[in-house]
Symmetry: C2
Subunit: 242 residues, 2 copies
């Protein structure tokens, strides 16, 4: 069972103050890279798994998507998404992605931002997504990078020479990781890149792009604190095709 | 230009004493995982890029391969490969993989063990390999894992609590890495997993398996020192298809 941390009030309050919550897609540094992996959306049917505040759903409609279905497990998130305005072509629904049922061959694009690392029954979900896409349909998603998630203590430390390093351990020990981020005891599911990609292949997907997100020079110039993100990847971005 | 470190006498003397040099394939802990990724070889034409002492070439013949071509840049390695015995179906040749020419559609399998991380012009080589395979032909290779290669100081350190950690930095800064391993100043080419996989895709390959090598429980029971290899991956194993 996935932890529904977004309905924890302290977590939700903290999450609501993040740049990506206040500014939307443009507040997420990895968004330009993820956007570049998307197909054209005009006239397409789009599924957003873990839609949060609905920023992507509304963006997809602005790109001309015909229909958008945004699913999320969090009542808090969905309430905020619905407050952002009515659009008869966008439907928000509560769903636990661990056990969600999806209509078959109903979508041209399945999208998910920073949600899959919470999923325990990941292969089950990928099989449902594969079946929910039309042949040739795309899956584009981001997740927390396993280098970011693996460590017992996920935070930079100084080595003996004072160099800033990210302390990897347990990378090849897959399973839950509990961290304190906005709230105590946030549980994520650590998997290697190889495991994630092989699950996609086993479910019938063809891999089309794999990117370990890296801030651009322009992003670092505009926001020097991002330079640290070049020492270890925070996000894994993947595109695949049914 | 690739550094030909295997023709450095000190390096070669040290390399010749490694388990994988003395015992052959069974002396390499990652071999069972890599072997499991290989297609059947009976009657097949096999190319080994960076064949070293020729252990894989001879194993491929023992599996029934019809012809095997082993390429290596090192005279030292090729001399040792030739000393291991004559087989008219195995040909060893000296080649710099940075600028090698390969016959077109001439091989069913291209194999490479721990060689690609030395290659500067990697995309060029992958294009040549793609063209050298028959349609449906396979590429199976291992390389040093980028988590292993990225750090400024690639060695375990103790964190403030005495925990053994692998100090990642510069993971997203691709380019040469110089380390002291068997000899001073061994130069390898660091690339992220994403870059390696996207180069394969750009060259026309379909990805079929991606594995970050992990010692099995049985391997650790037989050789407890291997337990450390679960903290960070040393090898990346990839299978692809033309």
């Amino acid at each position: 069972m996935t932890q529904n941390i977004y309905d924890n009030d302290a977590f939700f309050a903290g999450y609501s103050r993040l740049g990506r919550s206040v500014e939307g897609l443009d507040g997420a540094a990895e968004w330009p890279a993820l956007r570049a992996m998307l197909p054209g959306l005009a006239g397409r049917r789009v599924l957003d798994l873990g839609c949060g505040f609905g920023w992507f759903c509304r963006w997809a409609r602005a790109q001309g998507a015909a229909e958008v279905l945004g699913l999320d497990v969090s009542e808090n998130m969905l309430a905020r998404a619905r407050q952002a305005g009515e659009d008869p072509a966008i439907r928000y629904a509560r769903a636990n992605l661990e056990e969600v049922a999806l209509p078959e061959a109903a979508f041209d694009l399945a999208y998910s931002s920073l949600t899959f690392h919470y999923i325990v029954a990941f292969e089950r979900l990928l099989r449902r997504i594969h079946a929910a896409l039309v042949p040739g349909g795309r899956l584009v998603f981001s997740m927390e990078h396993p280098i970011y998630m693996a460590p017992s203590r996920p935070g930079f430390v100084a080595d003996a020479e004072g160099r800033r390093v990210w302390p990897i351990d347990r990378y090849l020990e897959e399973g839950p990781r509990s961290t304190d981020w906005l709230a105590k005891g946030v549980v994520k599911q650590h998997r290697t890149i190889g495991t994630t990609l092989n699950l996609l292949l086993a479910c019938g997907f063809t891999l089309t792009h794999v990117e370990e997100w890296r801030p651009t020079d322009a992003q670092i110039a505009a926001r020097p604190a991002l330079a640290v993100e070049r020492d270890r990847p925070m996000f894994l971005l993947v595109a695949a095709q049914r």
